[in-house]
């Protein structure tokens, strides 16, 4: 499986409202970040949660977000950031 994104790419997390078990928290949906690194391909937790195989595997990335883009009222330093793992099917180019 070839990764669709690479370190340094700007990505947006989909603003999708998906029922069931997902590992993409609400607070990053619709937000723009940068691919920090490709973690690898992993079974899909959205189907593992229902006792299925997790196939097909999904590419997983660590995505870095500037805190001030996540929270309008962020009061730390402008350089402060947050990193989280996002599966490829939750990302689009930004």
């Amino acid at each position: 499986m070839d990764p669709r994104f690479h370190p340094g790419d700007s990505v947006r997390v989909l603003e999708r409202n998906q029922p069931g078990h997902v590992r993409t928290p609400l607070y990053v949906r619709g937000k723009v970040g940068v691919i920090e690194r490709i973690v690898g391909s992993f079974p899909n937790p959205e189907t593992l949660a229902y006792g299925q195989t997790g196939l097909p595997y999904k590419m997983l990335y660590r995505v870095n977000f500037e805190q001030k883009l996540l929270w309008h009222d962020y009061d730390g330093k402008p350089e402060d950031s947050l990193e989280i793992e996002i599966y490829e099917h939750w990302l689009e180019p930004a």
Binding site: P25, L26, Y27, A49, W71
Partner: protein, 108 residues
């Protein structure tokens, strides 16, 4: 829609780490041990992902249960869903165990 577990960014109270700290109890460790064993590569009676789904499905009750009780509820429901034991078996066993523990606790 926000699930009961999806807490990132919500307001909250002070952390008070010194207050919310204790050595895990033997009872808590037994629950963790059961989960490790049931989900291991030998038994494969579930996945951590399934246990999370079960906890999220508690809805409003998610925050009513203390942490280990919530995990226990998830294991219980997961084993019922998978047919490892039946609701009737569980209820009968609970009656038996409750009577025993009550006697034990009143005697101590």
């Amino acid at each position: 829609m926000r699930g009961p577990h999806d807490l990132g960014g919500l307001p909250g109270g002070p952390i008070e780490p010194a207050v919310h700290e204790h050595e895990p109890t033997h009872w808590e460790k037994r629950i963790e041990a059961m989960m490790v064993l049931l989900f291991d590569t030998k038994r494969r009676l579930g996945r951590v992902d399934e246990s999370r789904r079960m906890q999220e499905a508690l809805g409003e009750d998610y925050h009513k249960y203390p942490y280990y009780e919530r995990r226990l509820q998830a294991v219980s429901r997961l084993m019922l869903e998978k047919g490892v034991f039946s609701q009737e078996e569980l209820e009968a066993k609970q009656r038996e165990v409750r009577a025993r523990l009550e006697a034990e606790r009143s005697g101590s």
